[in-house]
Symmetry: C2
Subunit: 218 residues, 2 copies
């Protein structure tokens, strides 16, 4: 896992090494993710995040020099937790190769569906990244990491067949777009039945597409 390099360790109130294994740091990041997802970046203060945990603002400030620094770290933290879940989803799939690929896609969707706060946080990040080029750069990097991980996972699941799919990267980009797009539809409309049906249609057409490619039929 990436960690922010330690800076100025011996100066009080200067940015500290952000150690995700430190329970206090992890609790601040989790509380910040919750506050940001519920109220947005601009309406959330370091004091409110501290209040969630019964901590003074100065303690939050001791670990994170500014709200900007905390936003960047929350984004990395939330995304790496998501990537951990992606890894777990990809590893758990069973059955034939195509079935395993589809089952891995289904677990990815479940991971996201069960975590609507992550979608709310993503929307905040996208909105804020217009005014914060560093946030945008980091978002693009994390999105790329997710695509790489999912692409490798699907390739591994498909085994030798992966080489027969010339557009595996396109499929991965598509899968991420579907996951994001459906999460947004749920966020706006709150209708799981409709989005679940859409995801089943996606799995159906992907299966038909994989079949066509793997049988050499198209």
């Amino acid at each position: 896992m990436e960690k922010t390099p330690s800076e100025a360790k011996d100066t009080e109130h200067a940015p500290r090494a952000v150690d995700w294994e430190n329970p206090r740091v992890a609790s601040i990041l989790a509380a910040a993710a919750k506050c940001f997802a519920e109220n947005g970046f601009s309406a959330t203060t370091l004091a409110e995040i501290g209040k969630e945990l019964g901590l003074r603002k100065s303690i939050v400030h001791y670990y994170f020099a500014s709200k900007g620094a905390l936003i960047h770290e929350v984004q990395s933290y939330a995304y790496h937790r998501y990537l951990d879940q992606v890894r777990a989803s990809l590893g758990a799939a069973e059955g034939s190769q195509t079935k395993r690929a589809l089952s891995a896609m289904r677990s990815l969707r479940e991971t996201i569906r069960k975590n609507p706060a992550a979608t709310a946080l993503n929307i905040e990040v996208w909105s804020a990244s217009r005014r914060d080029p560093e946030l945008k750069r980091r978002s693009a990097g994390l999105q790329k990491d997710a695509r790489k991980l999912i692409g490798e996972g699907i390739a591994e699941v498909l085994g030798a067949d992966a080489s027969k799919i010339p557009q595996l990267e396109g499929l991965t980009t598509l899968l991420l777009a579907v996951l994001n797009g459906l999460a947004i539809a749920e966020y706006v409309e709150g209708d799981d039945a409709k989005t679940n049906e859409a995801f089943e249609v996606f799995l159906f057409v992907v299966r038909a597409g994989l079949k066509a490619v793997l049988s050499g039929g198209e």
Copy 2:
């Protein structure tokens, strides 16, 4: 097209009927959409929107009682313009039925790809709708309208074959999710080549899926 009902017509500075056919109203809505997409809702003032057009703030205020009212109207305005383009896309498709359906999907994607400001505006709307239930309600309604229109368009294009596709609503929800998800990927990463490839994969698998359904093969 929906228009806000006229209220208190004879009171100076009270909300006026919002008449999209009025060139000044249309120019204010277009300028507001541009400012909101570039700088977000919270960082944009009515004065700045007026400045874009060389108008005093009081003139903007004459047509729109508050920034909140303007945000709601910009959302409807931008969405209805988008729906007009959707109608045009669906009408222009030619060829066999499956080909026409795919070609209509491709024009929808082009419509959105050529208008990145609409994605930026959507992200603002999603972010703000957390704090503005009326905005969320309107977003959900407009999303529903878009889905209905696209669903009817695809059904019309597919003709008699439409009845053989049991999950046309799921397909439409999926298509909208793909369009939104790819627009976000472009917004964050700015890489058209990757998202174009993903959309081609989408059209390929949809074609394979339609083929499987229409031939009764699955």
